[in-house]
């Protein structure tokens, strides 16, 4: 594991430990607002940090290399998510700790992550110039259907009570995230067993946690509840894994180019 990856893990552990400590200290009290602001800041730092590390990985490739495009798209998607986190953080700040409504402008930014990551995966697949193996297709379809069913299952309770706009946004989250996961599996299946697959496994774990975070988020927002510490930690964990994927990929490319 590269030094950068170790640094990412250390930083993530520090940020999470502080979050858990603050939550334990302020839960069910008036001071909970400190935790809420800290959590917003953590979402911004982790997503922007992951975006920066993806951008840094992008910069080691030549302008004509499609791997550069792939990491560039990934970086842009994360920057959009980060912009959404800033919007939500500002809303919370201006409304004495109240959570932003759902759906809201921040959701446009959050959802923009998905098409950019999908474009990144397409660029990466093109960069490899290799077809997806049969077992890769089987895994991709299985993951897509599994994620879709799981997403619908998690949100089933909320569906009965929500308005049509919420329903559409929730369905977009579920479908986009399922596509995202399936495409990540497809890209990783080309590289199974290789050194280059390592960053993709990290990215895949990150995207799966991201998907779980989104599913919990849509559920709690639709039934008008706060997310709690678990939801607050899922996205930073997801971005932590994506950041490790970026640093691992950078280390592999630097050592072998």
């Amino acid at each position: 594991m590269s030094k950068d990856s170790i640094l990412v893990i250390a930083l993530w552990l520090i940020l999470s430990t502080v979050a858990i400590f603050l939550w334990l200290m302020t839960v069910d009290s008036e001071s909970m607002i400190f935790y809420t602001h800290y959590s917003s800041l953590m979402q911004i730092i982790t997503s922007a940090g992951a975006a920066f590390l993806c951008y840094r990985t992008m910069m080691i490739f030549n302008v004509n290399d499609k791997a550069r495009t792939a990491w560039g798209f990934l970086s842009m998607g994360l920057f959009f998510w980060s912009a959404g986190a800033i919007l939500e953080g500002v809303y919370t700040l201006l409304h004495q700790g109240a959570t932003a409504p759902f759906p809201w402008y921040a959701n446009v930014c959050f959802l923009l992550l998905v098409p950019f990551v999908i474009m990144a995966l397409i660029a990466f697949k093109k960069n490899l110039n290799a077809s997806i193996p049969l077992k890769g297709w089987i895994a991709t379809i299985t993951v897509f259907l599994g994620a879709l069913v799981l997403g619908l299952g998690i949100n089933a309770k909320g569906f009965q009570e929500i308005e049509s706009i919420n329903l559409i946004i929730t369905l977009i989250y579920i479908i986009f995230d399922s596509v995202l996961l399936a495409m990540a599996v497809a890209a990783a299946s080309i590289l199974i067993g290789s050194l280059l697959s390592r960053p993709w496994w990290f990215a895949l774990v990150g995207l799966f946690i991201f998907y779980l975070g989104d599913m919990i988020y849509t559920l709690v927002r639709n039934i008008d509840q706060a997310g709690g510490i678990i939801l607050d930690l899922t996205w930073p964990v997801a971005f932590g894994f994506i950041a490790i994927a970026a640093t691992t990929a950078r280390a592999i490319y630097t050592a072998n180019r």
Partner: protein
């Protein structure tokens, strides 16, 4: 009447197609034209060997064969033995073989001309084509050499080849360097022994490919490595239709050069180009000095 004429024309065309079959125009390198003729003699080739000498488009030579015997040679405005003399020691160009049934009489004194060509060749002739030192020599058949001035040296070299031998490792016995090379050239120019790069350059290139694919497997996985291999052979077959694992020795080193260049080009078509470039360079650096020299020679 018109229909009958068309039918006759069609039948004649079919007969012509049956008896005349041309191969691709393919490059040859690091093998003397006279040695190529020796191989065609050994194969009892009938037809025409079209040469483009030294890759100059207007430098065209044609050699006609009947059952492994040279019927005639034509090169620019020369015919017969002078034409043969002019092309004999060129070792790079293009070659197209057109199989055809020819019934003309063989060229008189061909064997004596080859003898005089070998005798008159400068002592460092072999050095004009240094890659020849990497060839592997195989028997074809022993013909009586008693009328030749090279009988003794030819038989000595022939006797030392055994089941096949690397040219540089053939024991010289009591032959001088000049006698050894004369004997060797005489045998190859008559098609009594065949020079091939398959067990020297071919093995080096094969080893390089294996190491490259192993490195690709480690770095980018078996799927990318397999895709690369498939694409590589697809690219090679586009440029050299009948390329086998052991290409026809008549073309010298050019099939191996093509193989290596395609390996380099294909590495930019499959897998991440940045990593592929690194892969290629690291395998080149890890080669044993002897193999590295050969591989670098063809890549430059």
């Amino acid at each position: 009447m018109n229909k009958w004429f068309n039918f006759q024309f069609l039948v004649l065309l079919m007969i012509h197609q049956f008896y005349v079959s041309g191969d691709q125009v393919l490059p040859f390198k690091d093998i003397f034209v006279i040695q190529i003729l020796g191989m065609l003699i050994a194969r009892k080739f009938s037809g025409v060997a079209h040469f483009v000498i030294g890759n100059k488009p207007d430098s065209i030579a044609d050699v006609w064969f009947n059952g492994g015997m040279v019927i005639n040679v034509h090169y620019i405005n020369l015919t017969g033995l002078p034409a043969l003399k002019a092309i004999a020691w060129h070792y790079e160009g293009k070659l197209e073989l057109v199989s055809q049934l020819l019934y003309n009489d063989p060229l008189a004194h061909y064997s004596h001309l080859v003898e005089s060509l070998v005798k008159d060749a400068p002592p460092d002739m072999i050095n004009t084509c240094p890659m020849l030192m990497n060839t592997f020599i195989n028997h074809v058949k022993l013909k009586p050499l008693k009328n030749s001035i090279f009988s003794l040296s030819g038989l000595t070299v022939f006797g030392e080849i055994g089941l096949g031998h690397s040219l540089t490792n053939i024991p010289r016995k009591n032959l001088s360097e000049k006698e050894f090379w004369n004997g060797f050239l005489y045998l190859t120019c008559h098609g009594l022994v065949i020079v091939s790069y398959a067990k020297s350059v071919g093995l080096s290139v094969q080893k390089f490919q294996d190491q490259l694919i192993d490195k690709m497997k480690t770095l980018m996985g078996a799927h990318i490595a397999d895709t690369y291999k498939d694409k590589l052979w697809q690219n090679i077959h586009q440029k050299w239709a009948n390329f086998d694992k052991e290409p026809d020795p008549i073309y010298g080193t050019s099939p191996y050069q093509l193989w290596l260049h395609q390996m380099q080009e294909t590495s930019q078509q499959v897998g991440t180009p940045t990593l592929q470039k690194g892969c290629f360079e690291s395998v080149l650096l890890a080669l044993a000095p002897k193999n590295a020299k050969v591989i670098h020679h063809f890549l430059n």
